[in-house]
């Protein structure tokens, strides 16, 4: 001891330390937004996928009921506001029974409170809307996809081939129409399918 053979480990210099912090800061600056965006995109995708599954469930159930004994019609429509405009959509499905026939209403989705209270609340909080194109009231009758004829309550038009229906599900606060994050379901000849983007 005290013979000069004991070696001390050299500490980092201030410059080294600053450089190190800068590198770490740069990495964080790049990584965090990327991570946030990825998380946000995943949440968006998950919300839209859930909504799509909800709509597909409604359509499948409605078609099934329209061909089972004792039922002949299943209505699939949007709740409209006072101005007859479609309101926000959601995964929630309201089923009402009138006699033996059911009809399904796609309506506003209250995003679960648990999701809203997550740390990423500003990133996932949104509302999901749905549009039927062309606008109208749609039914499954005897398994066939039909549209109520305008001005003729109770009369229907069979939709086949070119006369397909587009169901657009999108995040309302991220744009409108085709620029918002969205999923598209197309009902062609009665068969609903998710369109690949």
């Amino acid at each position: 001891m005290g013979d000069g053979k004991q070696m001390k480990r050299k500490a980092f210099t201030v410059v080294e330390l600053v450089i190190g912090f800068v590198i770490v800061a740069a990495l964080i600056a790049v990584a965090i937004p990327a991570w946030v965006k990825m998380t946000s995109d995943l949440n968006t995708a998950r919300l839209l996928d859930s909504a799509v599954q909800g709509v597909l469930y409604v359509l499948g159930e409605a078609r099934g009921n329209s061909v089972r004994p004792g039922t002949y019609v299943s209505r699939v429509s949007l709740i409209t506001d006072e101005n007859e405009n479609p309101t926000h959509f959601a995964a929630g499905v309201r089923i009402q029974k009138e006699g033996v026939n059911k009809y399904y209403v796609l309506s506003k989705w209250e995003i679960p409170q648990a999701v809203i209270q997550m740390p990423l609340r500003p990133l996932v909080y949104d509302s999901i809307s749905i549009d039927f194109e062309p606008d109208g009231k749609y039914y499954y009758i005897f398994g066939a996809w039909v549209k109520e004829e305008s001005g003729k309550n109770g009369s229907y038009e069979l939709l086949t081939g070119e006369e397909s229906t587009t169901i657009r599900i999108y995040l309302t606060k991220r744009g409108t129409g085709t620029d918002a994050p969205q999923r598209v379901i197309k009902v062609v000849d009665g068969m609903p399918s998710v369109m690949q983007r």
Partner: protein, 339 residues
């Protein structure tokens, strides 16, 4: 004298790398588990959806096959009174049971369900003086020539005037019937729409006619001895059903007379249903996508069952653009196989 910085020993380095590697492995493992769970969840959801749609398709096929070949003998070359064009014949309507094609890609059936009532006409009022007297007493201003009563005694009779009966505009939709003079064997009949003028006519006092009946006015086209009313799918909601425009001049109200073809085409399982009373065809995709080459209809030796084998596809979430295949087989009971 230069000073050397002390480096890490090899052991220290290995331990540090080891700890870091374990941490990375854990981190990657968690991410991999999340991704795998998400993909599996997507796959399960897609399969559940496909199964639901397939069950719907099977329900439709089962419903059609239930009546395959019914009224087969009568349907062969049956005269058809078309409301638009007068009397003609149903082209190539042969009353087939379930007939798979040679290659098994299509299944054709033809049927007519007569379930809502068989009416028999009293041909001559003079033979039934009690009925005649009671009728005149009750309806002095109606010059009826004949009355149809249910062939099988009934307490109620569908007339097309019921509140739940489908509406064609302001009026009730016509009741489609088979007219025939005999019900023996493969009898000759005419398919026609019948819009009875009457309300239900009931004479409970008469032992011959305790069932309700429908009268026919003088001046109406004289009908044959028997009317077999075709079954509607009676709507219960909404109360006014205006029918479906399916491409012909008339509307479809759910009459159970049809020539239905199921086929595997363009990666779809398709149902095409020609409805003579509406003069149009309903074409619907029952399921998609399928592998056409692995889809087939076949009847068993007894002709009582139709076996459908198919391979359907769902998207593979792990490999975009690829599909996962599932095979499905279902046997359907049918009223009549090929005659």
């Amino acid at each position: 004298m230069s000073r050397k910085r002390k480096g890490f020993t090899l052991t220290e380095l290995i331990v540090a790398i080891g700890v870091f590697a374990v941490f990375l492995l854990l981190f990657a493992g968690i991410f991999q588990a999340i991704i795998q769970a998400t993909l599996l969840n997507k796959q399960i959801t897609a399969k559940l959806y496909a199964e639901t749609q397939l069950e719907n398709a099977f329900s439709i096929i089962e419903r059609e096959l239930r009546w395959a070949g019914s009224m087969a003998g009568t349907l062969k070359g049956i005269p058809f009174v078309d409301p638009d064009f007068g009397e003609g014949e149903l082209s190539a309507f042969e009353g087939k049971g379930a007939v798979p094609s040679q290659d098994g890609k299509t299944l054709t059936i033809e049927y007519a369900q007569v379930a809502k009532g068989i009416l028999r006409k009293f041909s001559d009022f003079e033979k039934y003086p009690i009925v005649k007297d009671k009728f005149k007493e009750r309806y002095p201003d109606i010059p009826a020539t004949s009355v149809f009563f249910p062939y099988l005694r009934a307490t109620a009779l569908i007339t097309g005037q019921e509140s739940y009966w489908p509406k064609d505009g302001e009026n009730s939709a016509p009741v489609w019937v088979f007219r025939a003079n005999s019900l023996e064997g493969g009898f000759d009949a005419t398919l026609t729409s019948w819009n009875p003028e009457s309300q239900v006519f009931i004479i409970r006092e008469s032992p011959e006619s305790t069932s309700p009946g429908l009268y026919q006015n003088t001046g109406e086209t004289e009908l044959d001895n028997f009317l077999l009313t075709l079954g509607y799918e009676i709507p219960e909601y909404p109360p006014v059903f205006g029918g479906i425009a399916i491409g012909g001049n008339r509307r479809y109200f759910g009459e159970m007379i049809a020539r239905t073809t199921f086929s595997a085409t363009e990666s779809k399982l398709v149902m095409s249903k020609y409805i003579p009373t509406a003069g149009g065809t309903i074409t619907q995709t029952l399921f998609a996508p399928i592998k056409e080459e692995e889809t087939s209809f076949a009847s068993d030796s007894s002709g009582s069952f139709i076996r459908l084998k198919l391979t359907y596809l769902i998207p593979d979430p792990a490999n975009p653009g690829e599909h996962i295949e599932f095979r499905k087989e279902r046997a359907f009971w049918t009223l009549g196989g090929e005659e």
